[in-house]
């Protein structure tokens, strides 16, 4: 009965409980029939139950306190041990004195080394738990950083789109320049051919004309008979005579 009394207080030791993680991933715990009031989630306590003299639970002392005050449980213990020893239900034989010496040494060792070892072990636990928490936090932060970097990369990719427009415009300009260059080439080639034609036509007409003039002149010269030549010379002399007296 006393054990039940001592152990029942673990359910009410709320101030010492560590808060559990609020997230849960099991579908079972989110079911609608979950009775959170009568069956709350357990949390791991940080401090153990209080004990006196190393092993006697505090609740036993509280149980006596209302009826017998502060010294009640101690008097009960003294009375019980006196009864057991005097009636020799607890026999103090030679092994008892061995146990007594060991008990004294153990008490001395616990009192001296206890706090030191407790602090060292608590620090070890803090380190291990801290490393778990740190790993989780660092992975969360790493993932957040990755999200940020991803967003930045997306923004940079958006910038690439503007670059595409500029490149497209560049290519269009190049195409236009090539087109114009070829247009000019075509123009010059055609002009060259037409100029050639023109030149050849001009040369032809010029040669024809020259030839024709020469031929006509030669023919006319050849057709001048000597009688016509003498008559023309006579006419010229007569004209000269007519002009001469006026210029005295």
């Amino acid at each position: 009965m006393l054990s039940r009394l001592a152990l029942r207080s673990v359910q009410e030791a709320r101030p010492f409980l560590v808060a559990v993680r609020p997230t849960s991933t099991t579908a079972v715990n989110k079911a609608t029939e979950r009775d959170e009031v009568n069956f709350p989630r357990r949390a791991r306590p940080v401090e153990p139950g209080k004990v006196r003299m190393g092993f006697l639970p505090e609740e036993w002392f509280q149980f006596f306190y209302s009826k017998t005050g502060v010294t009640g449980p101690y008097m009960f213990g003294v009375g019980l041990t006196t009864f057991l020893c005097s009636k020799e239900i607890y026999v103090m034989e030679h092994e008892f004195y061995t146990g007594l010496s060991i008990f004294v040494m153990a008490v001395y060792a616990i009192k001296k080394l206890g706090p030191g070892i407790a602090n060292y072990l608590d620090k070890e636990i803090e380190d291990i738990e801290g490393s778990w928490v740190k790993y989780r936090q660092e992975s969360v932060e790493g993932l957040k950083q990755a999200v940020e970097d991803e967003k930045k990369a997306q923004w940079e990719a958006e910038g690439q789109k503007i670059l595409f427009d500029a490149k497209r415009e560049n290519v269009a300009l190049q195409l236009e320049a090539a087109y114009r260059e070829r247009l000019a080439t075509v123009h010059s080639e055609v002009k060259k051919r037409l100029d050639y034609q023109l030149e050849t036509a001009n040369v032809k007409t010029r040669i024809e004309q020259k030839h024709m003039v020469n031929w006509i002149v030669n023919n006319v010269k050849a057709s001048i008979t000597p009688a016509q030549e003498a008559a023309a010379l006579k006419q010229c002399f007569a004209d000269l005579k007519g002009l001469a007296p006026q210029s005295a």
């Binding site: 673990v10 029939e33 306590p45």
Partner: protein, 105 residues
């Protein structure tokens, strides 16, 4: 109920994760509040086959209180030592009686 299985009344959807220190059956009046007249019927409601599970739940309750917390001390070790010393003294009492120092008490 077979060894190593959940109690028949445990339902994960209602009770959540299994807590070996809790009794999942119909709640009954605690022993400290049972009136003397009701003692017979109270004992009648208990079953002999439930004794091992009761011992197991008591063991887990002790563990949850003294062994499992993050910053336990020497207390559970000393409690186990004192408990086993008392238990073995009781088992060997027949031999101890012969080592008494006095004949008349």
């Amino acid at each position: 109920m077979a060894l190593g299985e959940y109690p028949a009344e445990y339902n994960p959807k209602v009770h959540g994760p299994y807590d070996p220190a809790r009794f999942y059956g119909k709640p009954d009046t605690p022993f400290g509040q049972v009136k003397l007249g009701e003692l017979g019927s109270w004992l009648g409601r208990r079953s002999v086959g439930g004794i091992p599970s009761a011992i197991s739940r008591a063991w887990w309750r002790w563990q949850h209180k003294y062994v499992q917390p993050k910053k336990t001390g020497i207390a559970p070790f000393l409690q186990l030592m004192v408990g086993s010393m008392a238990f073995f003294y009781m088992l060997n009492y027949g031999k101890m009686v012969h080592h008494r120092n006095y004949k008349h008490h």
